[in-house]
């Protein structure tokens, strides 16, 4: 029995095995809302308004909910093996431009998570410094690149633990 034969047959078995496309949601299930039937009638208009706002809010939240995209550096993805995490943001931008990726959104994380002062901004130009975290290609072709400038940031991948560029 050759290894290639075994590999082919095992791969075929695994491919025939039932899978699951969707991982679990990363959210808690929503608590069921129970109407309080004894609410005074005077509150009814406010209640109706609140329900309308909540419904609209839920629809917006659903519309804008998190979607998964393959990581740009994942195996078989366009930037596999690029090691962008080892570059400074300007170097990464230069690399991307050289390879034809010009529609890039730079998402910059700043502040401190532990002190609840972290914030996120998106911009069209790369910041001067920070750890580059390769992001993902969105459905419209834009590439999201994350730059972590937060207190205590460590970098990722091959350059995990290096000084912040």
């Amino acid at each position: 029995m050759q290894d290639t034969d075994l590999k082919t047959r095992l791969a075929a078995i695994e491919a025939r095995a039932p899978g699951a496309q969707q991982p679990p949601k990363l959210l808690r299930s929503r608590r069921r809302w129970r109407p309080r039937l004894y609410a005074p009638a005077a509150f009814a208009p406010g209640l109706v308004l609140a329900i309308a706002v909540a419904t609209a809010g839920g629809a917006i939240a659903g519309f804008l909910s998190v979607r998964g995209y393959p990581g740009a550096q994942n195996p078989d993805q366009p930037l596999a093996g690029a090691n962008l995490e080892c570059m400074s943001p300007p170097e990464a931008a230069s690399y991307l431009a050289t390879h034809g990726y010009t529609d890039v959104v730079w998402q910059v994380e700043t502040g401190s998570t532990s002190q609840n002062t972290d914030s996120t901004t998106q911009q069209e130009t790369p910041p001067d410094h920070g750890f580059v975290v390769p992001g993902a290609f969105l459905g419209d072709g834009r590439l999201i690149m994350i730059v972590d400038q937060r207190v205590g940031a460590t970098g990722v991948g091959a350059c995990y633990g290096n000084p912040m560029p």
Binding site: K7, I13, L64, I144, A158
Partner: protein
């Protein structure tokens, strides 16, 4: 400029029952989902082959996915597939240990397994192997991980992996040669 989407994601993520270690920023969740979600299907398939039971495989894959999210900030960024397989397979082994205990206590029959009918000889042969040997074999043959890497993933000495792989190959060889001579 913080977008509405980011604000919503941030609020929702902070409501996750995650340990205090999670940064909870939008980029963490987005990066996690971008890196891990495409692998989810293959994790379930691998667990089905290792465990032989779809329901158990799905339960463990879900648990592994959530645990991976909870420990995302500790991931070194090197090989997300290996990291996810490590979490999932260790959970599977723990699950089997618990299940054996319960089944022994209840004297129940193990759940009906999923089986592959297209290649019954190989399916039967790999299910003659114990579950850890089967997992090691798949990591080696299908994913190409070295014995040292598998030893790290499954938290056992490298020599143990070496002997398991050797035994697996001899069992498969004998079983498949028997099968082909009978056909």
């Amino acid at each position: 400029m913080t977008t509405l989407k980011q604000t919503l994601i941030r609020r929702r993520l902070r409501s996750v029952s995650a340990p205090s270690g999670i940064a909870g920023s939008p980029s963490d969740a987005a990066t996690f989902e971008a890196a891990v979600t495409p692998l989810y299907d293959s994790i379930v398939r691998r667990l089905v082959v290792v465990l032989g039971d779809l329901q158990e495989a799905e339960d463990i894959a879900q648990d592994a996915y959530l645990r991976a999210f909870q420990s995302w900030e500790r991931f070194d960024g090197r090989d997300v597939r290996a990291w996810l397989y490590t979490i999932a397979l260790r959970l599977a082994f723990n699950h089997l240990r618990r299940r054996r205990r319960w089944l022994a206590a209840l004297r129940r029959i193990a759940p009906a397994p999923w089986s592959d009918r297209s290649d019954p000889d190989l399916w039967t042969a790999i299910h003659r192997l114990d579950v850890r040997t089967r997992a090691a074999l798949l990591l080696n043959v299908l994913d190409g991980y070295t014995q040292r890497e598998i030893a790290t993933m499954l938290a056992v000495p490298e020599g143990t992996i070496s002997s398991r792989l050797s035994r697996a190959r001899s069992v498969l060889r004998a079983a498949l040669e028997d099968g082909s001579s009978q056909n």
